[in-house]
Amino acid sequence: MVFLQNILTSNLPFSKESVIRGIKNEPQLVFIWCLIVFFIVATVVILLRTIYIRKKKNRDLAHTSKLNEKYHQFLSELASGDYTDKALELMSANKETTLALNKEDFTKEFNRKTLLKELLDLHSNLAGEAAHKLREVYLTLGYKEESLKKLKSFDWMLRVEGIQELKQMDIKDGYLPLFKLVKDRNHLVRLEAILARMKMDINPLSLFEDLEHDLNEWEQLRIHNLLHRIPSEEVPSFLPLIDHQLTSVQLFAIRMVALFNQAQAEKKLLEKLSFEYSKINQTIVESLSEIGSEESVKYLHKNFNESDSRLKTHIISTLMSIAGEADAAFFVSQLNPENYDIQLAAAKALVKLGSKGEELLDQQLELVSIETKNIIEHARQWTNQ
């Protein structure tokens, strides 16, 4: 408080000398001026550092661009078979090759990183013999050891890079340490490990036994994208995961069952389905539209009246997909309930049926209220939106 009183109430006349004398004589003011000097020094350091970073970025960008061009040409020619195995031997000895590359390209960190990036980019776009040759370059230049080392790094970014590199090059030595990372504390490392394991493990679904964290929708999307690229007969059956202890994995399994048309899961889904509203029930109903059969139609009809109104709209869409015209009368009956969403779903289902549905809608236009007429016209215009 004394400090504050000094700051705020000392009565000193204003003159240059008194100000300077005041500052010199007061320890509190000396402290404030130390702070000011610190702010000034910090500002200058931050500014210089900012400019240095900018200049370095510009310089690195220009250098990377040149190197990329050089490496791209070299790797493309190598992949297309213009160089023999001799080239790889020379590279492994870190000697200047007869090619465009020199020792610096293999030893200097910046160059090695750029070369690796170019190698991975090119490899991801190639297949067969050409991709195999690039994999040989990766092994010959010792990148495999570096990638394995990255898996043990404290820096999560390096761990992610390590996984991505080993996954892309399909390095068997990396399987075990990499598979363990599905339990990593960093979510990105976990995701990359899951993706790598889905791709490399003989029994990819075994990873879900080890899973301790929820599988969020982003992770589900990434796994689906990976599975989407492999032949459908190699996609594992997701049926065993429908009863997984984590709800997020159940949801994932139900979605995958539909997206990969795994009709064998229909019975399981119907067993699991109840008719109060939940994300799981909604997803099951949506999935049945892809894999459902006559059995699903019967089951959905039987329980329709007991269902939550939010589920009813999804059930109508699913019935349209499975039963089609056979359920036309049912859809017409649903035009009348006092729930806008159900009416709209029924009208859209009829529109999707084509000429038969349109005919029924025309008949209904004579009988229904003006509100329902509007719904029908709306459905006709916007069903495919």
Binding site: T9, S18, V19, I23, I32, I53, E161, W218
Partner: protein, 482 residues
């Protein structure tokens, strides 16, 4: 019986209040800036690393992404409407609908859009889930190439009303509210959707992104080619202001789920929650902040787990006001908007039921945003009176003034540094130096004006003399390209 307080005692109290109050207030604000700066830098750096390892294109073809409707209100946008719609239709996202709401424009906005996109009026069973002004018609294109486009023509009702119409028309899970004259980065929605999909158990009810300025930058075909520091002083001063506010400020608030404001120029909202909360409020000029506060309140009252997210990356580019009159009107409106929102939700203040929002965000906005100009004004007046009365401590005055000034310059430099470390959108060292120079001159040249506009905004709010938006004139991207 208590003695009545004498005038001398009263003045003594007043004097003490000013002395200590202003001192502690300033120290508190400076410390809060420091904490915000450090927290934000960490969050932004981490985001940047994650972003570099993410292939956003993976989202493009996935059937698992949520659907989004872009809602762009248009008022008297006849000159730019065609280009703006084209720009929105070219955004990269699979489940996207573009809803343009013509808010009773007095010029040829509708005619231009109808002609350019071959639009025809179609039946639409408009459900007024949120109450709005009357709809004149809903249009869609005869050309299947523009099937994602819905054009709504309505009676004039203001921006909030126009967005509410868009929300009513939309059937998507999320809606994005944008200013029609903004430039949106092509991958913006891919980046905005990621935190939603990553949210897990928590419901991501809204996501904001950084809005940055394009004045004097290179723009071609509605796309930003190169970012440059504005040539004139006023937009240049705002660049630094935006970097501090968006890159440092909001990032830190989102980290603790205390973000109160998502810019009206660009934000993504959970449609179901926004509708349940009542949509945009017509009765405030701070409708963007008000909706976010109401959505927070809605979720808190229901005790549901939720998050308001923020993507600390420049995803939306807009043009800053280039003269003091327009800028003054904008800041006046922002002040009035802040006051209205804080008063509408005063029950949140220091209410533990609202968690971080009530205990930290709200009091911070109240003290550091609403009250700041008053403290500056009255602090200055108080000091002048003291000086005339011969009571000023000049060595302390100059020392504290220098301390605050150099702290402000350091903070601005730190913001420029964070910008460079993360996105580095200003590619020439000259641009960095220009921004730094602005940081040096801003406290004398620019800041006093912002204080004055805020005071004026408060006065207008109290007297009710200015309730509208005020006219905002922009040069427009399309015009500049010519």
């Amino acid at each position: 019986m208590d003695q009545p307080i004498s005038m001398d005692t009263f003045l003594d109290y007043l004097f003490t209040f000013f002395q200590y109050g202003i001192f502690f207030y300033c120290v508190g604000v400076l410390l809060s800036y420091l904490v915000i700066g450090v927290v934000s830098a960490g969050v932004v750096m981490k985001y940047r690393k994650e972003r570099d390892l993410t292939n956003y294109r993976e989202i493009l073809a996935s059937p698992l992404v949520p659907s989004i409707s872009i809602i762009a209100p248009a008022y008297n946008e006849g000159v730019t409407i065609t280009d703006n719609i084209r720009s929105l239709l070219s955004l990269h996202y699979s489940k996207l609908t573009v809803i343009i709401v013509n808010d009773g424009s007095k010029n040829d906005t509708r005619e231009k859009a109808v002609a350019a996109y071959d639009l025809e009026k179609v039946p639409f069973d408009y459900q007024e889930t949120i109450s709005t002004k009357k709809i004149r018609g809903i249009y869609r294109s005869k050309n299947p190439a523009f099937s994602k486009l819905i054009f709504v023509d309505k009676e004039n009702g203001g921006k909030a009303d126009a967005i509410n119409v868009g929300i009513n028309v939309s059937t998507s899970e999320y809606f994005a509210c944008i200013d029609v004259d903004c430039i949106i980065e092509p991958e913006s929605f891919l980046k905005m959707v990621k935190p939603i999909m990553e949210a897990g158990e928590k419901r991501m009810i809204a996501v904001g992104g950084i809005v940055w300025l394009t004045n004097d930058s290179e723009i071609r075909d509605g796309k930003l080619i190169q970012v440059k520091t504005p040539e004139t002083y006023i937009p240049k001063a705002q660049v630094l202001e935006y970097i501090r506010a968006f890159l440092l400020g909001r990032t830190a608030w989102s980290k603790i789920n205390g973000l109160l404001l998502i810019s009206g120029a660009f934000g993504l909202f959970d449609r179901e929650v926004a509708v349940a909360a009542g949509g945009y409020n017509h009765n405030t000029v701070g409708e963007d902040m008000e909706l976010v506060m109401r959505m927070h309140g809605y979720m808190r009252e229901r005790k549901e787990k939720y998050q308001v997210g923020y993507v600390p990356e420049p995803l939306c580019w807009t043009e800053a006001p280039a003269d003091y009159n327009i800028l003054g009107r904008q800041r006046n409106r922002w002040t009035r908007g802040t006051i209205e929102c804080l008063l509408m939700h005063k029950k949140m203040c220091l209410n533990p039921k609202f968690g971080v929002l009530g205990m930290v965000s709200y009091p911070y906005w109240l003290l550091a945003e609403w009250m700041a100009p008053f403290v500056e004004l009255f602090g200055t007046l108080f000091f002048i009176i003291m000086a005339f009365m011969g009571l000023a401590n000049w060595p302390y005055f100059f020392s504290l003034l220098a301390m605050v000034y150099f702290f402000a310059v350091m903070l601005s430099t730190y913001a420029i540094y964070t910008q460079e470390r993360t996105y580095g959108r200003y590619t020439q060292p000259k641009d960095i130096l220009l921004l730094f120079w602005n940081g040096i001159t801003e406290p004398f040249k620019y800041h006093p004006r912002t204080v004055w506009w805020s005071i004026k905004g408060n006065w207008d709010y109290i007297t009710g003399s200015n309730k509208g938006w005020g006219e905002m004139t922009r040069a427009g991207f399309a015009k500049k390209e010519d």
